[in-house]
Symmetry: C2
Subunit: 178 residues, 2 copies
């Protein structure tokens, strides 16, 4: 099977955390079409596992979906060149108040391949060292420790719908708990 | 914990499948800030299970991530008011050439809660009836049947990174195979 051929990518709007582009693409049928493209610098996330096996989760209000969510700690990279490992280490400490000296890579995900290049690199940290939460002035996050069993139930009953969290928790179970 | 208060949502650009907005938000700290918001009409996806237990997957080129992907069949709703069940039934038949007379709801996911409201409703169909693939002129999709075992390995080794596919396959295992 062939790839499409991208003929152009025009910036429509430079946003705060994403950029909107208008892509001109030649399809395999030879037609010239326009696709939306959202450019994102990438992100990283962590499954922080306590000694008792519970996962440190963060609760916060998410404007885009008009609700509070329970997610694994995560955040955007400081520029496209920041290594995701560095980003994940920072976000873990900033959001949960625990740091670690070593993380294992779990999986990477593309959040929404139809129109966006956002890639989230997800790690597992099981050596959690008490430190200090360090939130931005406008960031409000509560930390909760939840068992993997309870998180699985919350995924299947619709309490947790965040794709990176669903992917990360279930992949963690596959790799470490089976 | 409090929610943020959204003071305004201004359309920046109406795209082909998404719209970019500039949200004005009052944070819990009382500051007025601007957030990117991508409006999406929603989507639906299906885990199509053959009689032999293999899953019908679709392979296609994804411009946004510059690569071929192996995904569960999925597609955008025909407008925000279309029931996701209807959308999933249509996309299953159009993309795989198999239809079904009944689907069970598996999970819903939000693809990327930091800036977008895209919700994908995911179903399971295990009564697959041969029909006809019905792709758009510019849509090129190959169908492959893959075992759940192999899909799990492809998730853990990085071959499959699409978040809806990772979420759907691992949730399907949790709910139906354990």
């Amino acid at each position: 099977m062939e790839a499409v051929e991208r003929l152009g990518r025009a910036l429509v709007k430079h946003g705060a955390i994403i950029d909107l582009y208008d892509d001109t693409v030649k399809t395999q049928a030879g037609n010239i079409v326009h696709y939306d493209f959202i450019g994102h610098k990438g992100a990283a996330a962590v499954v922080p596992v306590r000694a008792d096996g519970k996962i440190l989760m963060v609760r916060q209000y998410r404007n885009a979906v008009d609700r509070f969510t329970l997610e694994i700690p995560a955040g955007g990279k400081n520029g496209a060149d920041e290594p995701p490992y560095t980003c994940a280490m920072r976000e873990l400490e900033e959001e949960t108040g625990y740091k670690t000296d070593k993380m294992d890579h779990l999986i990477d995900i593309y959040t929404t391949v139809a129109f966006c290049n956002e890639k989230i690199s997800i790690y597992v940290a099981d050596n959690l060292i008490p430190s200090h939460q360090n939130l931005d002035e406008d960031e409000f996050i509560d930390v909760e420790a939840v068992s993997v069993e309870d998180l699985t139930a919350m995924i299947l009953d619709g309490t947790i719908m965040d794709a990176k969290t669903v992917s990360a928790i279930l992949a963690y179970k596959e790799k470490y708990i089976k």
